[in-house]
Symmetry: C2
Subunit: 337 residues, 2 copies
């Protein structure tokens, strides 16, 4: 029932054409919130719902919408997949606790690294994470919880990119024609699906999300695994996690749309204490964009670039080289894999 085939063979015709964007300039956040809360209430009725909170603005906003609509009848889980940023699970859970929303941390690190073992192809890695998330981990949680409604933070750009074939977001199911009720035993509710990220931020802010959550740069579904070229091991995720922490600390005061560190599989020659040292390379990307559809690299001051390179090569063991991406999207994409 939860087999791979459902990801390959659409069961229903693709519905994307019916979906219309709700543009930022047309958005009345309070009216939108009221409408979505009513919609969730009416769909779930007296049932139980569940959602996975990643800490990104989309799933954070949906968590608040869901709790406003359902209170205790929404169970929110934070799945610790081992590919999160530094201190992420603790920080997100405590922020939601402060808002009176209990979040359960589910430790699934081992399941994810087992599934990723030996994989280097980006699509296979993405698929392994999707499968582990929906089937192994979340599938079990849903079953155990008895919930038959699943709230998800799918946004309009996710749908568009998936349908266009640019990238498969891990949270697109209905749009690919997958009948989740038949396949998984639950109905998916996607309250922010008509919004792009800037509009989701406005709704999150109106819902009382702390600024550090609603103004967060986007983070990919496969988390740090999307920032590792080649095999995703615990040790390699540690490298990109440290580099990511440095990039986020150094660039958080820029107005950039998104900034990220990527660990390359290619090794390059470096020098340590006068001797040849064959080591790792980290690529930094920092984007100017309004909707992630197109983007240009931020013209960061060279002082900032040099400090990034110094800190990453000094503080992250094994890294001897740092690059800055200078390509527009398109032909580049925001993320590397």
């Amino acid at each position: 029932m939860l087999g791979i085939k459902i990801f390959i063979m659409p069961i229903r015709p693709i519905r994307i054409m019916e979906l219309k964007e709700l543009k930022l300039e047309d958005l009345n956040p309070d009216a939108f919130i009221e409408e979505q809360v009513e919609e969730i209430k009416s769909v779930v009725g007296s049932g139980l719902a569940i959602n996975a909170l990643s800490g990104g603005v989309d799933s954070s906003t949906v968590t608040l919408l869901g709790h406003r609509a359902l209170g205790d009848r929404l169970k929110t889980c934070f799945i610790e997949n081992g590919i999160m940023r530094e201190g992420e699970p603790e920080r997100i859970v405590s922020l939601f606790q402060a808002m009176g929303i209990p979040v359960e941390i589910v430790d699934a690190k081992q399941q994810f690294f087992d599934a990723l073992k030996g994989l280097t192809d980006p699509e296979e890695k993405r698929e392994a994470i999707t499968q582990t998330f929906y089937k192994t981990v979340f599938g079990t949680l849903v079953k155990e919880s008895g919930a038959n409604y699943l709230l998800q933070g799918t946004n309009f750009t996710d749908v568009e990119e998936t349908v266009a074939g640019v990238k498969r977001q891990h949270n697109i199911l209905e749009q690919l024609g997958i009948d989740t009720q038949a396949a998984f035993g639950y109905t998916v509710i996607e309250p922010v699906i008509r919004l792009r990220k800037p509009a989701v931020r406005v709704v999150g802010q109106a819902l009382g999300l702390p600024e550090e959550l609603y103004s967060r740069p986007p983070f990919p579904g496969p988390a740090l695994a999307a920032r590792v070229i080649g095999e995703v091991t615990s040790a390699r995720v540690d490298v990109v996690r440290k580099a990511t922490a440095i990039v986020e600390a150094e660039l958080q005061n820029t107005d950039a749309f998104q900034y990220l560190a990527i660990l390359h599989e290619d090794k390059v020659t470096g020098m340590r204490e006068g001797k040849r040292d064959y080591g790792m390379q980290v690529e930094v990307r920092c984007w100017e964009s309004t909707d992630a559809q197109t983007g240009t690299p931020t013209r960061l001051p060279y002082e900032t670039l040099e400090r990034l390179a110094d800190r990453i090569t000094t503080e992250v063991p094994g890294v001897v080289s740092v690059t800055y991406n200078i390509t527009k999207k398109p032909p580049s994409t925001i993320e590397a894999v």
Copy 2:
């Protein structure tokens, strides 16, 4: 006699400690030229010498010194190894022809690509090129020519880096304690071994080398193979050759010490005509340095970086992403492999 073992086991004690740099400020180019011409004359006597011209400032300067000393008794070859820059063999040969120096082009492309097939480790690739050059190609040429003196453009930085273990230059033999007379049947003469690159340029200029040769940015011994991470095939060399031509055209008017394009083995996601396109990444490096011992990335204007990225992703098929290296040497090195 020409086996691999000579590269592994030094036959004589390393001589580097005896070698003293002749610094740029202490260099009198005319006196130096006279001294080296006399030295070459006295060593070669009435014998025959041979040298391989790569077109770099070191081997170009040595070619002029050798011809001034020996005239027709120096045979100069240009070995077309398939890993040269665009139009390189024709351009170099015609520049020397204009100076009255005949250069023989030896087509050895197939031998080099055969030797490089399947190799991805940088040291193995370097070794394959060294062995193909000295043993398969140049060894045969030397033997056929009857020469027993070989002129080489080894400079002081090559020696230092080799002895320090940072990098093995392909033209270091004596310094590694290899007795070329015993091993190869010829004596190596290295007229510019006490000079670093800026001093070699001054000597080259004094010898009448055209500016486009004496002011050339340094180029590695293994040529474009040093600019390809992973397997070096004819198709992959074509990619980096095109990118190199763009980088050299765009950056030739900067005062940078060196600039280069590197083809990565890692592939990254890109977009073409709205669809996902998994493609190649090219890394650009541009260095401020006086002696190649240390270096900092040039603070190129963003207009230049963006033009480089636009041109490379537009003009080089299959490339979807371009980065700029922002790391100092050390811990980086000038080249990637």
